[in-house]
Subunit: 267 residues, 2 copies
């Protein structure tokens, strides 16, 4: 999927919602455990109930890998039912030396068919570039994450000026373009978005941390939105686990709709 197509979906659906499919077999409604593949069954009902309200789905690979080979089969099946017009994100936070990143790219883009993958920047350019060699596929590079640990290194002041996460933005934006790179910027740090937009005015930002992690959608839109919206705001737990009974998908839809309506007002 390219940037224009993504922007069109956002306008059509009046939504820049990304739903994180962080499906934890220990948290899904009990009645699903009887089905052959409970994680897939959960995802299927979530996708059926929400696909008109969001523009992106983001399975976090850890939740599938935790269930071993069976988990990866749930992921494969989930990828097959995500509608083609919805931007899929492999939340994998990969990154390794060049020949290894090439293997991850093959796994995520070719085997699973993801549109994009989240990548960690610590190993530098040659760990990121193999992901950029695919037509209409995207790298979503970690810049400023939503967790407490973000303060350990990402906000360190550099001798040359600026912070580490700003240097990650400045350096990495030369590796690709706004047509094949996005950045992860946590909603819990919305006050940094204005500064980030000075460095990367055109790139899309993937913003986790709204919902369970407590970030404000209004602030994110105020400081982060650009001409093409430029935002994918993720919510996971607050939607997936809105209900714990047989009506979990309805409850998830209601929660997604609440966010979508707020987004429609902000667009």
């Amino acid at each position: 999927m390219n940037r224009t197509q993504l922007h069109e979906q956002i306008l059509k659906k009046k939504s820049f919602l990304c739903i994180g499919l962080d499906t934890d077999i220990k948290k899904i409604p009990k009645h699903l455990l009887k089905s052959e593949d409970p994680v897939f069954e959960f995802n299927k009902q979530i996708i059926e109930a929400t696909h008109d309200l969001c523009v992106s789905y983001k399975p976090n690979l850890a939740f599938y890998e935790a269930n071993g080979v069976a988990g990866l089969m749930s992921l494969e099946k989930t990828m097959k039912i995500i509608p083609e017009e919805i931007f899929s994100i492999a939340d994998a936070k990969r990154g390794d030396i060049g020949n290894t990143s090439t293997m991850y790219a093959r796994a995520l883009f070719e085997n699973y068919g993801f549109d994009s993958v989240t990548v960690a920047p610590y190993m530098g350019s040659d760990s990121v570039k193999p992901f950029l060699g695919y037509y209409d596929k995207w790298v979503i590079l970690l810049a400023l994450t939503s967790n407490e640990g973000a303060f350990d290194f990402q906000l360190l002041q550099l001798a040359k000026g600026g912070t580490l996460y700003e240097e990650v933005l400045k350096k990495s934006k030369t590796w690709g373009t706004a047509d094949n790179m996005m950045y992860v910027v946590g909603a819990t740090k919305a006050e940094y978005l204005a500064q980030i937009r000075k460095i990367i005015p055109d790139h899309f930002l993937l913003v986790p941390g709204v919902g369970a992690q407590g970030g404000s959608l209004k602030d994110v839109a105020k400081y982060g939105m650009n001409k093409q919206c430029g935002l994918l705001v993720n919510a996971s737990r607050s939607i997936l686990y809105a209900g714990a009974g047989e009506d979990f998908a309805e409850k998830a839809r209601a929660e997604a709709m609440k966010i979508q309506k707020e987004m429609a007002g902000l667009l």
Copy 2:
């Protein structure tokens, strides 16, 4: 496996060799492609031919994930035939917010039974700590990697003094101990090892970059060795692909023995 047991293995085998099982189905000898699971068959023969010469095996997960579900099954089978006294490393370079790292820990330590996992530091303490909650399991944190991209961020000078990778060492060493944390330090930067040993004198270092990537074993031992050896030096491609014919395992053994003999002289 604990630190004393690892040290005992090093003394017994006169080796601190780690063999990277970066098994690429496109590079293994052609005659193996007839077998039911060529990657596993290759690994099996490599392990049979080298297990008395090395103290660690390190499958890089990307190479298995690139083959989809079948690849993960090859990995599961490989883990079952690695002898118990050999330290197994999931070279996965994971790291995510706490509840997600917990899932990765479950996948790698519980499902596959790895002794350790490589973790990327960018997301900070709460992305690393879930891996430290397991008895006799290890985090191997990226500090200074062997690739060209290491220069992009790891060697940035900080305003408070020192470089980013040194700050990663200083801060992260308080998250665990030398009994549950190791660090990745590339052999291609052996001159940094003396400085690194000032910060973490007791920790084991996992040192990639000897062999195909060109680092010197002698320099690594000179600057990096401590009282318990404190080194696991990895070679992957130079051993795995030493031969391309039916005698590939013999050729791999010969290459591993060459390194082991040099290590025996350095111990």
